[in-house]
């Protein structure tokens, strides 16, 4: 039981570590929460509302990245036909920066 516990813990910390190393320029949701509190980025509610007008569909994944002193939201949205859309929005203004369909 104890050994199992140990293995699981190692695995989990490994995973968590992978997550953090992976996101060197990606922010975790606790950081995002703080940014939002300080008013540096738009609320996710507004961002999603705006994204929906650009590309309707189901949100699959969202990430906030730090880029050249600004913040950029990278959204993955699946439309009604099942195509995956990748959308980049300025996190401060909501302005669309990049838009493409992934195959």
């Amino acid at each position: 039981m104890k050994r199992f516990n140990l293995i699981a813990t190692t695995l989990l910390t490994g995973l968590l570590a992978a997550g953090t190393t992976f996101a060197s320029d990606r922010l975790d949701h606790n950081e995002i929460y703080k940014l939002r509190q300080s008013g540096e980025i738009m609320s996710m509610e507004k961002v999603l509302e705006h994204a929906r007008t650009i590309q309707p569909g189901q949100l699959i994944e969202a990430e906030l990245e730090r880029e050249k002193g600004g913040y950029v939201y990278e959204l993955k949205i699946i439309d009604a036909e099942g195509r995956m859309h990748k959308l980049e929005l300025d996190a401060r203004s909501g302005e669309a920066l990049k838009r493409k369909i992934e195959d």
Binding site: N5, A8, T9, L12, L15, L16, G19, D28, H29, N30, I32, Y33, L35, R36, I41, S43, M44, E45, L48, L59, I60, E61, A62
Partner: protein
């Protein structure tokens, strides 16, 4: 309120409304409970899984990611958890840049609450208190139930509309059934009114079993009424016939006495005899008139008057031409009464007319109007009022018993009508105006 139909309708409406209310209550509670129980089972399960995850970590982490599948990771997905232990807070990644206000449990082990979530979501939240690493912590797991609630409301609205439609349908059906069931009553009322105005009609004795005894009774009463009336008429007829012979004998004896020279005694006797004769005639007539408004034939001027005119023309040796104009539909007046009335008026007119008599009749369901004019000498203005006094004869030179116009007056009074004498403007003789209304009491 004192209407059987209204009462039954109100009862049905009240009953159905109550049913509708119970149904609405059920509709509101049952799906709600079902959904909440279903969602809560899942939330409890996720809460226990989170607890197990925390047990595996040496100390409380700042975040748990990836967690229980993508729903707790995708931003604002509608599935959230929040773990509090003192000041330490672990939010699910799906909460992203939002936070929830979850209850901190100190007394009870678990609680269920409704929370307002991000992006206008309505959340159902389950919180549970656990002990991990010697610390007391509360795990709250919440799920967005907006869509489910909306579905339930939609279902509720549809079912309500359907129930309302069903209620209206039942009401319409009830009105129809009641109308059908109570139709014999309307028939019975109509029959009684007809009976009053002189038309006997056998009622159909079919109908609801509650009404059948009434219909049978009305029929029996109508038959009984007719029989009794005929009997009393016959009895009076018999009496008058039986009295005729003795009266004639007495009349002869009076004449005999006159011849013997006892003139004053004979005159006294004749006077009494005349009074008796008048009394018998009047009573006989009254008995017949009591029959107006009882089973008898309906008077149709169109059918009856031409024959009557022809008979009178013959009676007066075709000396007089009778112009007859009749308009309108037959009305509910007793045929015997009307024949007697027109017979007397026409006979009177023919008696006095030079050559022409003009009769015009207007009849409809409200009653009857008639004008009878002749080209005879007419009656002086001061005597017009005396015309209907029975026994009084303005002109003794022509044959008659002095009863004719008196009988007419009786009949007109019986129908609460009016009788007017005047001078004819066109024929210059007597003009008689008769108006017989058929009101509620007109034929009484």
């Amino acid at each position: 309120m004192n209407s059987l139909r209204l009462r039954l309708h109100l009862l049905v409406v009240a009953g159905l409304a109550l049913l509708l209310l119970v149904q609405m209550l059920g509709l509101r509670l049952i799906p709600q409970t079902l959904i909440e129980n279903y969602v809560l089972t899942r939330l409890q399960h996720d809460s226990d899984t989170l607890y197990a995850r925390l047990l595996l970590t040496p100390e409380l982490p700042a975040q748990i990611y990836p967690t229980l599948g993508t729903v707790y990771d995708t931003p604002l997905s509608g599935h959230y958890f929040r773990i509090t232990a003192g000041d330490h807070v672990i939010r699910s990644r799906s909460l992203w840049d939002e936070d929830l206000v979850t209850p901190t449990l100190t007394q009870s082990f678990s609680s269920v609450s409704h929370l307002a979530g991000p992006a206008g979501q309505q959340l159902l939240s389950y919180s549970h208190r656990y002990e991990v690493h010697g610390e007391t912590l509360t795990i709250s797991v919440a799920e967005d139930v907006t869509v489910m609630e909306e579905t339930v409301r939609g279902l509720e609205r549809q079912l309500f509309a359907l129930s309302l439609l069903a209620l209206l349908l039942v009401l319409v059906l009830q009105v129809w059934i009641l109308r059908r069931a109570l139709r014999p009553l309307d028939d019975a009322v109509e029959s009684c009114v007809l009976l009053e105005s002189g038309q006997a009609r056998e009622l159909k004795e079919q109908g609801p079993s509650e009404l059948q005894p009434l219909l049978q009774t009305i029929n029996r009463l109508s038959r009984h009424h007719g029989l009794r009336l005929a009997r009393s008429r016959r009895a009076l007829g018999n009496v008058s016939h039986a009295l005729k012979t003795p009266l004639a004998v007495l009349q002869q004896q009076a004449d005999e006495m006159d011849r013997r020279g006892e003139k004053s005694e004979a005159d006294a006797m004749r006077l009494q005899l005349a009074t008796m004769g008048q009394t018998i005639s009047r009573e006989l007539h009254r008995a017949r008139m009591a029959g107006s408004g009882t089973p008898g034939a309906r008077f149709d001027a169109q059918l009856e008057l031409p024959a009557l005119c022809e008979a009178l023309r013959k009676l007066h040796h075709r000396r007089v031409e009778i112009e007859l104009t009749i308009t309108g539909e037959p009305c509910a007046l007793d045929a015997d009464d009307m024949l007697e009335l027109f017979g007397n008026l026409l006979d009177n007119a023919c008696k006095w007319a030079g050559r022409r008599v003009r009769v015009s009749v207007q009849q409809n369901t409200d009653g009857l109007r008639a004008q009878i004019e002749d080209d005879g000498p007419g009656v002086e203005q001061e005597n017009l009022g005396n015309l209907t006094q029975s026994g009084l004869r303005l002109d003794e030179s022509r044959p008659g018993h002095g009863l004719g116009l008196g009988i007419v007056q009786d009949i007109v009074e019986q129908y609460q009508g009016t009788l007017k004498f005047s001078r004819s403007t066109e024929l210059d003789g007597l003009r008689v105006d008769v108006i017989l209304p058929i009101g509620k009491n007109g034929a009484g």
